[in-house]
Amino acid sequence: VRSGDTPILRTVARFAVPATVWVSVLIFYQGHNLPGGGFIAGVMAGAAGAMYLLAFGARRAARFPWWKVAVVGLLISVMTGTVPFLLGRTYMDHEILHFDLPLIGAYELPTATFFDLGVYLIVLGTLMTIFVELSQEKP
């Protein structure tokens, strides 16, 4: 697929791609309490990647091994389930970690967030792999 080789799209993409990625990170972060979460955030980051791909061409996007992102995500997710299992509890038995940080104060972090991070990476990696590979095909 030829990239939409237009100055307008490139100019917009220069701002829109980082902005979308930033929003996706925010949505991921707020996901546990407000609308959002790893899946939606991953799809949003994938959409940002698609925008980049359309603006700058598949060749540049293909330099990055996206499938490895998906694999790393799966490793993170599975590890989240395996660690409690190795500690003698059931698989995927999440809990809430409490921290006392110097400046922020008391902070709660559910271990499910790590699982969600894996989901985020998997969705992003899978979408980008398919986008990049499909757009390099010749009809």
Binding site: H32, G37, V43, S77, A112, F115, D116, I122, G125, L127
Partner: protein
């Protein structure tokens, strides 16, 4: 064994061991490999296939008898299998014409007898029967080799009249054959008498075993005399014309073995001592004598001989062209059937039509949903429907949604269908705006955008659109599937949101109440995904990664080629 009995695994354990032992000893229905394995030179066949190797399974049974003998499955399996092999081997031996094949079948028969004896828990005779078998089957195999060496054939139909050219071989063969036929004063006679003596004491179902053993022995009698007579008696055949007597080196081994059969037969006390000394259960009653102690076994022996002579006289009737289906053929046929059924099934069900797969998936879902709906015990008709809650803009959205769905189906270009599909998706997102469901709204919009991109990417590679030529029946089927899906989904959603169901099982309230307390998250949707139902999600994301790897691998490999 006692520990196994408590765990309920005793019988399965025994059955698995028995399958191994029975296969090793070529028992029916695992017997068919043995005749096929008789391709080696005759001394090798004698040693491997008639003596040591197949006996290993029988030996295993003998060693296991003290351990497993009291398990009911032991006799239930071994006696019928052994008896069937005993009979079948003897019967098939009558129909073969190849010398080694005849001997192979009679070997099967003897192995069946050993198995049956262990199955009956009568180990006192094992050494005697095996000794007797070795002393006649060994020389017979070796004689078959000598005959082949002299005439270059093992086919009974091409042999005959060798008694003049090979008198010494004939003598050795005769001794061995008569021992196998169970005639006095040879070891085979003693062994058979002892067998009948033992079987007579069984009582009950033992009389069936005894009667069938007499039949099997009679068939063995006929088979071995047919073999010996066919080779050495009658007019000399063309192939036998240039035959010559075997050298001493060839003749000595069978002669020694046949001598054992004769010496032990004449010296019954010696045979008894050997049999007792070698037996795995030496304490049993075993009395060998050429002069029978009671009339029962002798009468049975006479009956065996009479029946054997009758079979020998009528054995031409068995040589007809019709063959019993061998287990080898049954096995091959079964394998072939599995393959053909799999091919037929795959060709029909995995026919490559996406529409076919999709219909199957949808109909399965419909069936499952109907089952689930019936289990609730609620009726769709009792759900109160109020159009007031819907508002006018909800109604407008529904009309537009339906219109876009119709456009998807009626469109004559791919791009038109894609645009209609996308507008359908965004209209659905609007529906979520109206009914205030921000989480699903966000998901819907994002998924819709990304899948539109996907569709456009894929459309780029698609061939030009051409309308499907559906028959009237095909249209009816499609309409039925679509209608069923629509109806069931309608009923499903109506029931799922009905107050009646919410009162009985309110999953939503349960999740909402536990979300923050147990998982530390206020967004119940996300908490369900990553915590309450995390293992489901785990499976789904694994599938996603697999898809990514497959797309990567397949498309890369195709481009590289």
């Amino acid at each position: 064994v006692a520990g196994l009995a408590g765990s309920g695994l005793l019988t399965p354990t025994l059955l698995l061991i028995l399958v191994g032992a029975l296969t090793k000893s070529a028992q029916w229905p695992f017997h068919f490999w043995l005749p096929g394995a008789m391709v080696a030179p005759t001394p090798v066949s004698t040693y491997l296939h008639a003596a040591t190797m197949v006996k290993a399974g029988v030996f295993l049974l003998g060693r296991l008898l003290p351990l497993f003998g009291d398990v009911p499955a032991w006799s239930t399996v071994l006696v019928p299998v052994g008896l069937a092999t005993f009979l079948l081997g003897a019967f098939q031996a009558l129909r073969e014409t190849d010398l080694k094949a005849i001997l192979a079948r009679t070997t099967l028969s003897a192995l069946g007898l050993f198995t049956m004896l262990y199955g009956l828990r009568l180990p006192g005779q094992d050494a005697l029967q095996i000794l007797s078998h070795a002393a006649y089957k060994g020389p017979l195999f070796l004689v078959a080799g000598i005959v082949e060496h002299a005439t270059h054939t093992r086919d009974l139909r091409e042999l005959g009249g060798l008694r003049r050219a090979m008198p010494l071989t004939f003598a050795v063969c005769l001794v061995a054959a008569l021992s196998m036929a169970g005639l006095p004063p040879l070891l085979g006679f003693l062994a058979k008498e002892a067998l009948y003596e033992e079987l007579l004491h069984l009582g009950g179902m033992g009389s069936v075993v005894l009667a069938l053993s007499v039949v099997a022995n009679a068939m063995l009698f006929a088979a071995v005399l047919r073999l010996a007579g066919g080779v050495f008696l009658g007019p000399p055949s063309p192939k036998a014309a240039h035959a010559h007597e075997a050298s001493l080196g060839l003749l000595l081994p069978p002669a020694v073995l046949a001598g054992v059969a004769a010496v032990l037969g004449l010296g019954a006390p010696l045979a008894e001592g050997l049999a007792r000394g070698l037996s795995s259960a030496p304490g049993s009653r075993l009395h060998l004598s050429l002069v029978p102690a009671s009339s029962g076994p002798l009468l049975l022996s006479l009956a065996t001989i009479a029946l054997g002579v009758a079979i020998l006289a009528g054995q031409r009737l068995l040589q007809g062209p019709g063959r019993l289906p061998s287990m080898q053929a049954v096995w091959d046929w079964g394998l072939d059937l599995v393959v053909r059924a799999a091919v037929a099934f795959s060709a029909r069900w995995q026919n490559g039509s996406v529409r076919w797969y999709f219909s199957g998936t949808l109909l399965f879902t419909v069936g499952l949903s109907i089952l689930a709906l019936r289990r609730t015990g609620l009726s769709v008709l009792q759900v109160p429907i109020s159009l007031v809650e819907m508002q006018w803009y909800g109604l407008v959205l529904c009309v537009m949604l339906s219109a876009s769905a119709v456009m998807v189906v009626r469109s004559t270009t791919r791009i038109g269908a894609a645009i209609a599909l996308t507008s359908n998706g965004f209209l659905t997102a609007l529906l979520f705006v109206v009914y205030r469901s921000p989480d699903i709204l966000l998901t819907q919009i994002l998924i819709e955008s990304v899948s539109t991109l996907f569709i456009l990417l894929v459309l780029y590679f698609m061939p030009p659109f051409r309308p499907d030529g559906f028959t009237a029946f095909g249209r009816l089927v499609n309409l039925t599937v679509a209608g069923a899906v629509a109806l069931v989904m309608f009923a499903f959603i109506l029931l799922a949101t009905s107050p009646a169901l919410r009162e009985t099982r309110n999953l939503a309230a349960d999740y909402l109440s536990r979300s923050l307390a147990e998982a530390g998250g206020a967004n119940a949707v996300n908490v369900i995904i990553v915590d309450f139902r995390a293992i489901d999600t785990n499976g789904e994301i694994t599938v996603l990664v697999l898809v990514a790897l497959l797309v990567y691998g397949l498309l890369r490999a195709r481009r590289a080629a």
